[in-house]
C-alpha cells in the first residue's frame, strides 16, 4: 500500500506564505542560454508556414510581431477550439487540484512554478477565459482571465519550449487532461506568428526535401547503410545484404535517421540489419521514407499529418504488406495516438503477420505498423533466435522507458523481455521512475539542442538521479532505451550526472548476443570494442 503522509505531516507541508509577486507579474528569463534559437526564415518558407519575421532573437525587446498579431492568435485559438473538443474540455475542466504540479521533470529540476503543468496550461487557459468565456469576460482577472499581450507571447515561447511533451503529468491528472496537448496547441499558435525554433523546423524542412531530418541525400543514406554492412562483416564474418526501395518486398522497415547517422544509434542499426539477415526477412529500406521521426508533432497537426503520410505513401508505392518500425520515440506516439484519425486507416496494407512465427499483430490492425521490440520479443518467445547473452556480460544494464513508446503506446514489457534474454545483468530503476511513470530524458519534443544544455541537465536530473541509484546499488554501467532522441540526449546527461554510464539501443545488445549462421568467433562487440573487460584492460 502506498505510504500516505499523516494528517499532521500534510498540514505542516502547507506553506501559507503568499508569493512576493503574482505569477503573471514575473517575466520569463529570456537571456541567452535560456531559450532555443529561433528558426531561420527559410525553413518557415520551405514548409509553407507563416513567415512574418526576419531573423530575430528572443532576447530582443521588440519581437517585430505582425501588426494584426492579436487577431491571428485569437482566430487561430478559435479555430483550434472548433476543431478539437478535447482542447475545450482541457481548458474548462481543470480544478487546480495540484496532482500534476510536482510531477514534471522540469519543475522538479528547476523549482520554477511556471513549469508546474497546471501553471504552464494556465498560460493558455487565462487567455482562453478572457477571449472565449462569459465568466472571464465579466470577471476579468478575478476569474483567472488575462488579456493577450506581447509579454504573454514571450511567456508562451519561453515555457512551451520548456515542456518536452512527455505526458508524465497527464498520468496523474484525475480528469485526464493531457498537458502535452496544451503545449502542442500553444506551439501551434506561436507558429502562426512565425515563432518556432530552428532545432524543430530545420529537421522538418529537411524531411520534406531529402526524406530525413539531417538532410542526407538518398545515395549517402545508401552508402552509410552499406558501410555498416562492411563493419558487420568485419565483426561477424557474415555479409548482410539489405535492399533499398525494392518493390514487392513483404515489409518496409522505417527507423529514425539518427540510427543511420549518429552514434550510438548506428550500432542499433547494425543490430537490426543482423537480425533481419539472420531470420531471412523479406524487407526493404527506403531512401524516401528514410525518417521515422516526425517533428510535425512539435509544430502543428497539419505538419504531423504531412510527415506521417510519407511512410504510408512509400509503403503503397512499393506494394509492401506492412511496416516494421525501429526504435523511435515520437514516431510511435504519432502512429498510436493520431495516425488513425489523421491519415488512417491504412486499409491498402495487411494486418501484420510475422513471416517467421506466424504471429498476427492484431494490435496493429489499424496502423499496420509493428514495433521492432514487439517483433523481436515474439521471435525470442517462439525460440527463433539463438542468443549468447554472455557477450553482453561487461554491460550491467538498466532500461529507460522512453516517454512516447511507454506512455504513448504502453510498450513496457517487450523491451524488458528482450533485454533479459540478451544480457545476463539487468536491473530496473525504482518503480516510480519507470514504465508509465518514467522520467523524460529532459530533451524531448525538439529541445535536444546544445544552446540550452543547462536546461536539459536540470530537466534530466530526475532520470539521472534514478540511474545514479542503480549505478551505486548494482554497478549499472549501461542505460538501454528505444528512442533516437534518447540515444542522443542521454549520453551528455549521464556524462554530467552519472559519469561511467553508457547509452545503448535495445537492438545493439540484440546484435551482440545474436548467434548468426556461419559467423566467425566474435572478439569484439558492435562498437568494435573487446567483448570482455579483461581484454580491454590487456590492450591498454
Amino acid at each position: 500500500m502506498a505510504d500516505f503522509p499523516k494528517p499532521k505531516e500534510m498540514f505542516d507541508s502547507i506553506d501559507y506564505a503568499l508569493p512576493e509577486k503574482q505569477w503573471e507579474d514575473v517575466p520569463p528569463d529570456l537571456s541567452p542560454g535560456n531559450f532555443c534559437y529561433p528558426t531561420k526564415r527559410k525553413n518557415l518558407e520551405y514548409l509553407g508556414l507563416p513567415a512574418n519575421k526576419d531573423e530575430w532573437s528572443p532576447s530582443d525587446e521588440d519581437w517585430n510581431l505582425p501588426d494584426n498579431w492579436q487577431t491571428i492568435i485569437h482566430e487561430g485559438f478559435k479555430d483550434l477550439l472548433g476543431k478539437y473538443r478535447s482542447l475545450k474540455i482541457f481548458m474548462d475542466t481543470c480544478v487546480r487540484c495540484g496532482a500534476c504540479a510536482d510531477k514534471c521533470h522540469f519543475f522538479i529540476g528547476t523549482g520554477d512554478p511556471k513549469n508546474m503543468p497546471v501553471l504552464r496550461a494556465e498560460l493558455l487557459r487565462s487567455v482562453y477565459r478572457n477571449d472565449f468565456t462569459m465568466a472571464g469576460k465579466i470577471l476579468g482577472s478575478i476569474g483567472g482571465a488575462r488579456k493577450l499581450t506581447k509579454d504573454v507571447i514571450k511567456e508562451w515561447f519561453s515555457y512551451f519550449y520548456q515542456c518536452s511533451e512527455c505526458r508524465r503529468c497527464s498520468v496523474y491528472c484525475p480528469y485526464g487532461i493531457d498537458t502535452a496537448e496544451i503545449t502542442m496547441m500553444g506551439r501551434e499558435l506561436l507558429t502562426l506568428l512565425g515563432l518556432n525554433i530552428n532545432w524543430i523546423l530545420e529537421p522538418a524542412a529537411n524531411c520534406f526535401r531529402t526524406g530525413n531530418h539531417l538532410g542526407i541525400q538518398p545515395h549517402a543514406f545508401k552508402e552509410m547503410v552499406e558501410f555498416f554492412c562492411d563493419d558487420i562483416e568485419d565483426i561477424t564474418g557474415v555479409r548482410v545484404n539489405p535492399t533499398f526501395n525494392r518493390k514487392g518486398a513483404e515489409i518496409l522497415f522505417v527507423t529514425p535517421s539518427g540510427d543511420v547517422f549518429a552514434d550510438p544509434g548506428t550500432y542499433t542499426m547494425m543490430g537490426y540489419l543482423m537480425l533481419f539477415e539472420h531470420i531471412g526477412l523479406d524487407y526493404t529500406l527506403s531512401t524516401y521514407a528514410s525518417e521515422g521521426g516526425n517533428f510535425g508533432l512539435f509544430t502543428s497537426a497539419d505538419m504531423m499529418k504531412r510527415l506521417n503520410a510519407k511512410m504510408y505513401a512509400e509503403s503503397k508505392r512499393l506494394g509492401v504488406k506492412w511496416i516494421l518500425g525501429g526504435e523511435c520515440g515520437h514516431m510511435w506516439r504519432v502512429i498510436n495516438q493520431y495516425m488513425e484519425t489523421m491519415n488512417g486507416p491504412a486499409d491498402f496494407l495487411e494486418v501484420p503477420v510475422s513471416p517467421i512465427t506466424g504471429t498476427r499483430f492484431a494490435n496493429a490492425a489499424s496502423t499496420k505498423m509493428v514495433h521492432i521490440a514487439e517483433f523481436t520479443a515474439d521471435l525470442i518467445r517462439n525460440n527463433k533466435l539463438k542468443l549468447d547473452p554472455s557477450r553482453n556480460d561487461k554491460n550491467i544494464v538498466t532500461f529507460h522507458d522512453s516517454c512516447n513508446p511507454a506512455r504513448g503506446m504502453g510498450l513496457f514489457d517487450e523491451p524488458r523481455y528482450v533485454l533479459k534474454n540478451v544480457c545476463n545483468n539487468f536491473y530496473d530503476m525504482p518503480e516510480s521512475t519507470i514504465r508509465e511513470q518514467t522520467f523524460c530524458c529532459g530533451s524531448g519534443s525538439g529541445l535536444n539542442t546544445e544552446e540550452i544544455m543547462d536546461l536539459r541537465m536540470r530537466g534530466g536530473l530526475p532520470r539521472a538521479n534514478a540511474v545514479q541509484y542503480v549505478h551505486d546499488k548494482y554497478g549499472v554501467n549501461m542505460l538501454a532505451c528505444v528512442c533516437a532522441i534518447d540515444r542522443a540526449a542521454l549520453p551528455p546527461l549521464m556524462d554530467y550526472w552519472v559519469p561511467g554510464v553508457g547509452v545503448t539501443g535495445l537492438h545493439e545488445l540484440v546484435g551482440n548476443a545474436l548467434v548468426m549462421e556461419g559467423e566467425t568467433e566474435r572478439t569484439v562487440d558492435l562498437r568494435q570494442e573487446p567483448l570482455k573487460e579483461e581484454e580491454e584492460d590487456a590492450d591498454e
Binding site: A101, D102, G109, G111, F261, D263, D454, L455, Y469
Partner: protein, 176 residues
C-alpha cells in the same frame, strides 16, 4: 567545542538547509523542503543529505577537504545548472557564519569561543573557495558537452564518408 550536541547539529543543519531552500521561488519551497521521496524530489533530498554531512565537517576545526568535497559537490552540481548567478548559487555557504552565531550567542564572550569562531570562519571561507572550483568545473563540463555535441553532428559523417582522414592509431603500419 567538541561537545556540540547531536540536536544542535541537527538544528544547524536544518537552518542551513532552510537558507538554501529559501533561494527558490515561494511556490516550490514547500516541495523542495518537505517532500522526502528521493526519486520524486532529487533536488531537496540531495541538498538535505549533503548539507547534513557538510555541517558535520565544517564543525571540525581540522577540515578534511576530501570529505567536504564529497558533500559539497552534489549540491553545487545541481545549483550550477539552475537559474542562478554564481554569487546567488554559492551565497548560502557564507550564511553558516550567521546561523552558527545565532545558535551560540555567548561564544564570542570567551577567548576559547572567539578562537573557535575564527577557525570556523576560516573553514567557511575555504569551503567557499572549494565551491567556486566545483562550480567552475561543472560549467566547464557543460561547455565541453555543448562543444562535443556540435562537433559530433558532422565529424562522424565526414570520417565515414571518407571526406576526412585521421592519423591512424599507433602501431598501424604507415605506407610512405
Amino acid at each position: 567545542m567538541d561537545t556540540i550536541s547531536t540536536e544542535k547539529k541537527q538544528r544547524l543543519s536544518q537552518n542551513w538547509f532552510s537558507v538554501i531552500i529559501n533561494t527558490y521561488p515561494t511556490e516550490s519551497k514547500a516541495f523542495f523542503g518537505k517532500n522526502k521521496d528521493l526519486f520524486a524530489n532529487p533536488v531537496g533530498n540531495t541538498i538535505k543529505r549533503n548539507i547534513e554531512r557538510l555541517t558535520h565537517e565544517v564543525l571540525l576545526l581540522d577540515l578534511n577537504r576530501d570529505h567536504v568535497k564529497e558533500a559539497l559537490e552534489p549540491i553545487i552540481r545541481i545549483r550550477a545548472v539552475q537559474e542562478f548567478s554564481i554569487s546567488d548559487a554559492l551565497a548560502f555557504i557564507f550564511a553558516f557564519k550567521t546561523i552558527f552565531r545565532k545558535e551560540n550567542p555567548s561564544l564570542s564572550q570567551t577567548e576559547e569561543g572567539r578562537l573557535y569562531l575564527e577557525a570556523l570562519d576560516a573553514n567557511i571561507d575555504e569551503i567557499v573557495l572549494m565551491a567556486l572550483d566545483i562550480y567552475m568545473s561543472c560549467k566547464h563540463k557543460i561547455y565541453t558537452l555543448r562543444i562535443n555535441e556540435a562537433k559530433k553532428h558532422v565529424r562522424q559523417l565526414l570520417i565515414k564518408k571518407n571526406l576526412m582522414c585521421e592519423v591512424p592509431e599507433t602501431g598501424v603500419e604507415i605506407i610512405r
